[in-house]
């Protein structure tokens, strides 16, 4: 790296004062820094306690820092220097460079064609280099819309116990999963709530999918994919809002009585409902896949 300045620099020395005190301070700091560094090494082997290690290493570095700053400020000669700046444009006329570049064209008759051909082959090679990137991921296809739910799958809780209609209380929220399927999949988890059937404001079809007012929705927010993990249930309805499922990430709020329709927040779609029925043991059983696509929206998702 070169300095752009050719001009002479003027310097001004500071009178040398008494440096003895500063030198002592630096020596002391350096000695203490050495000790702290040794202490760190010993601690790692003998007693690797995070706090002590941090104190030893941080302390050693702090003492080194103090030593360096004191040395820089009090011991070595102090000066302020002044240097002229160079004007780059004046020093090396840009036109000369342009001429040198242009030199290459001398005696070339089909310059445009050659440059164009070089550009085209460069672009083609660049594009060819990008094509393998396609292999990084599979085609989107149908996998993104698939879920493990199908007719007859029982709903189980996180301990794999079947959930019955009596487990679901008004005002509480349960998480459910498809029996015997992986839970690490977007399509797996559902949230189950209960609304007294008289309070439901939903179509007859949705009502048929909610036996005794037990509603199940995909737990994955259709906005950005967080788990809809908050159930806002009013303690005293006249002064508070209606019961709703809320995503804690971006506060999309889904009205439970209206079957998970968006009430507030950024989501573009309602929560997809999972159709349920009760079997003889009053356990919750899916009667099919979600009504609507689960997971965050992308181009082509239907509302």
């Amino acid at each position: 790296m070169s300095s752009p300045t050719e001009g002479a620099s003027e310097t001004h020395d500071r009178e040398a004062g008494s440096k003895r005190g500063a030198e002592n301070l630096v020596l002391l700091s350096l000695a203490a820094a050495t000790l702290a560094a040794v202490a760190f090494g010993v601690l790692v082997i003998v007693l690797p306690d995070t706090q002590l290690l941090g104190l030893a290493l941080g302390g050693s570095l702090a003492l080194l820092g103090v030593a360096a700053v004191v040395a820089g400020q009090k011991i070595v000669p102090q000066e302020i220097a002044i240097e002229e700046r160079t004007d780059f444009g004046e020093r090396q006329p840009a036109s000369e460079v342009v001429e040198m570049v242009r030199d290459a064209e001398r005696g070339v008759s089909r310059r445009r064609l050659l440059v164009g051909a070089a550009g085209a082959s460069g672009a083609a090679l660049g594009a060819a280099a990008l094509v393998p990137a396609v292999a990084l991921g599979p085609k989107v296809g149908e996998t993104i819309a698939q879920t493990p739910w199908s007719r007859g799958r029982r709903v189980v809780d996180s301990q794999d116990r079947p959930i019955t209609a009596d487990d679901v209380q008004v005002g509480a929220m349960l998480s459910g999963f498809p029996e015997g399927a992986s839970r690490r999949e977007f399509g797996a988890s559902i949230v189950i709530v209960k609304v007294p059937p008289g309070e439901l404001e939903i179509s007859a079809r949705m009502r048929a999918d909610a036996p005794e007012g037990v509603l199940a929705f995909s737990k994955i927010c259709p906005h950005a994919g967080c788990a809809v993990a908050i159930y806002r249930h009013p303690l005293y309805e006249p002064t508070t809002e209606r019961p709703a499922l809320v995503c804690p990430c971006h506060y999309s709020t889904f009205d439970v009585r209206r079957g998970g329709t968006l009430e507030f927040g950024p989501a573009g779609r309602d929560l997809p409902q999972l159709p349920l029925e009760l079997n003889a043991a009053r356990e919750l059983v899916a009667t099919g896949d979600f009504v609507g696509q689960i997971g965050p929206s992308y181009l082509g998702v239907r509302k």
Partner: protein, 489 residues
């Protein structure tokens, strides 16, 4: 010994002319010039602690059962990524110190860059001839935020998984090719592909850090080529550079600052807990929690996703542009495009195409200061919207009303801040005696005869420069010209 070493190298490589210039390289002195240095030192700490951690971290979504020392997690099935990070934190000697220091250093590096950017914008340091270096700096900010996010995502704890799933949702939302792009990056649906964690790993430990290191090199090479800009003073003009030579004083002080930065970071890493991932538990798609916060430098993106009203472009019941696109991509793109374009906007706005090696004091250019501050206020409100989780749900005001308040504030407040800042700058610069610009006036002094006389001073008063002789600082003995030249053209 030094002579032998210098001779040995010089005879073979001929470095002494360059070394001489380097040792005499001049640094103008101002505390705000240290912000960029602090970011650099934080980066050095990040590389050091990061190398340590890379020896223990396992980038894999393979499932394993935890059998380590931390009782609440024992017997739980989790990914190798999470397991190895928990073990690094709780079993490896000095592992937690390194991890916490790494996390603190990432936070410090980004805040130092943001404050550095603020300084550059407020003092007009982005103007000709420094536009190229400014672009490199803004790119460094973008890369550092990305690097922070990727690093935060690697442990596969609950919060990192939530961050990843949101970014996956945002990628899906890109019009036309969003779903394909998300599948290319994540290797399939998220969660699901075992290609994904190795990819995060190599991006975090190789691709982005190498880009950052290269850009830091460019940034510093350009600074050295052009020299620092400087504030006007009695000595500093547009045509010179005034400051401390690199050797010996400045090098020692800068090295000291590096050690002190590292010291603060290791003390924080040892004493102040950050991101205790063993308490969050492994990521499961069905879990989320209120108060789950990303690192602060992502708060503005979280906030923009939250504040965006439910607006989607739809054709019938077909989704064309999902909502997450606006807050997750359009907003940060606008934010960074404004930053990138600022030197050219400023140039048109003020009609100023000249070279500037002298910096403005923020109050000297009220309109620029006001627009910069209102821009930061705009981002800050959106940042606040992303950070007040506890308030949203625990205050008596419903969160819907809070969100609406913030939505309106995002539009109104920047204007209020603009006019308030502009007024403040104007008042300040009207009141200030302007010691930096030299002083002309009359001095009354005692005559030997015992009377008083008035002396006209049009040459300026010496020794008003802040650096001169105060605080044990160096004394410039030579009489220099008056302050008028300091403003330049």
């Amino acid at each position: 010994m030094i002579r032998n070493l210098v001779d040995y190298v010089d005879e073979r490589l001929g470095v002494s002319p360059g070394a001489r210039k380097l040792l005499r390289y001049i640094f103008p002195d101002h505390w705000s010039f240290l912000l960029g240095e602090i970011a650099l030192y934080a980066f050095i700490v990040l590389v050091g602690t990061g190398v340590f951690m890379s020896l223990y971290y396992v980038p894999s979504d393979a499932e394993a059962v935890y059998r380590g020392a931390y009782e609440p997690l024992r017997g739980l099935t989790m990914t190798e990524s999470y397991l190895s990070t928990v073990n690094l934190s709780l079993e490896v000697p000095a592992g937690l110190l390194m991890r916490q220091t790494h996390h603190w250093a990432a936070n410090l590096m980004i805040i130092a860059i943001v404050l550095h950017l603020l300084r550059i914008l407020l003092t007009g340091a982005f103007r000709k001839p420094r536009e190229i270096n400014y672009l490199v700096g803004v790119t460094l900010l973008a890369l550092t935020v990305l690097e922070g996010f990727v690093g935060y995502s690697m442990p596969d704890d609950l919060f990192s998984g939530i961050g990843l799933v949101i970014s996956y949702g945002v990628a899906l939302s890109i019009p036309v090719f969003g779903a394909d792009l998300a599948f290319l990056i994540w290797g399939a649906e998220y969660p699901g592909s075992s290609d994904f964690f190795p990819r995060l790993y190599i991006v975090h430990v190789l691709i982005v850090p190498v880009a950052i290191a290269g850009l830091i090199g460019m940034h510093m090479a350009m600074i050295m080529r052009q020299h620092h800009a400087q504030f006007p003073s009695k000595l500093a003009t547009e045509r010179n550079v005034v400051g401390y030579p690199m050797w010996p004083g400045y090098a020692l002080k800068a090295g000291g600052l590096m050690f002190l930065t590292a010291a603060v970071l290791f003390l924080l890493g040892g004493l102040v807990q950050i991101n205790p991932i063993w308490q969050w538990g492994p990521y499961e798609p069905y879990l989320a929690s209120n108060g789950a916060q990303p690192d602060w430098y992502l708060g503005w993106l979280l906030g923009s996703l939250r504040l965006m009203p439910a607006l989607e472009i739809q054709l019938g019941d077909l989704t064309l542009v999902p909502n997450a696109f606006w807050g997750g991509l359009v907003f940060p793109t606008i934010t960074f495009m404004l930053m990138y374009a600022w030197p050219w906007i400023d140039r048109r706005w003020f009609g100023d195409r000249d070279k500037h090696d002298l910096l403005d004091s923020p109050r000297d250019n009220p309109r620029r200061t006001a627009i910069v501050i209102s821009y930061f206020a705009w981002v800050l409100i959106i940042f606040i919207a992303g950070s007040i989780d506890r308030l949203y749900l625990s205050s008596t005001v419903p969160y819907e009303a809070q969100v609406w308040f913030l939505r309106i504030a995002v539009i109104v407040l920047p204007f209020v801040v603009y006019f308030a800042t502009k007024r403040l700058c104007e008042e300040l610069s009207a009141r200030e005696p302007r010691p930096l610009r030299g002083w002309t006036g009359k001095v009354v002094r005692r005559t030997p005869a015992g009377g008083f006389e008035t002396v006209e001073l049009d040459e300026g008063v010496p020794a008003v420069d802040g650096a001169n002789g105060r605080n044990g600082g160096p004394v410039v003995k030579e009489e220099a010209g008056a302050g008028e030249g300091a403003r330049g053209s």
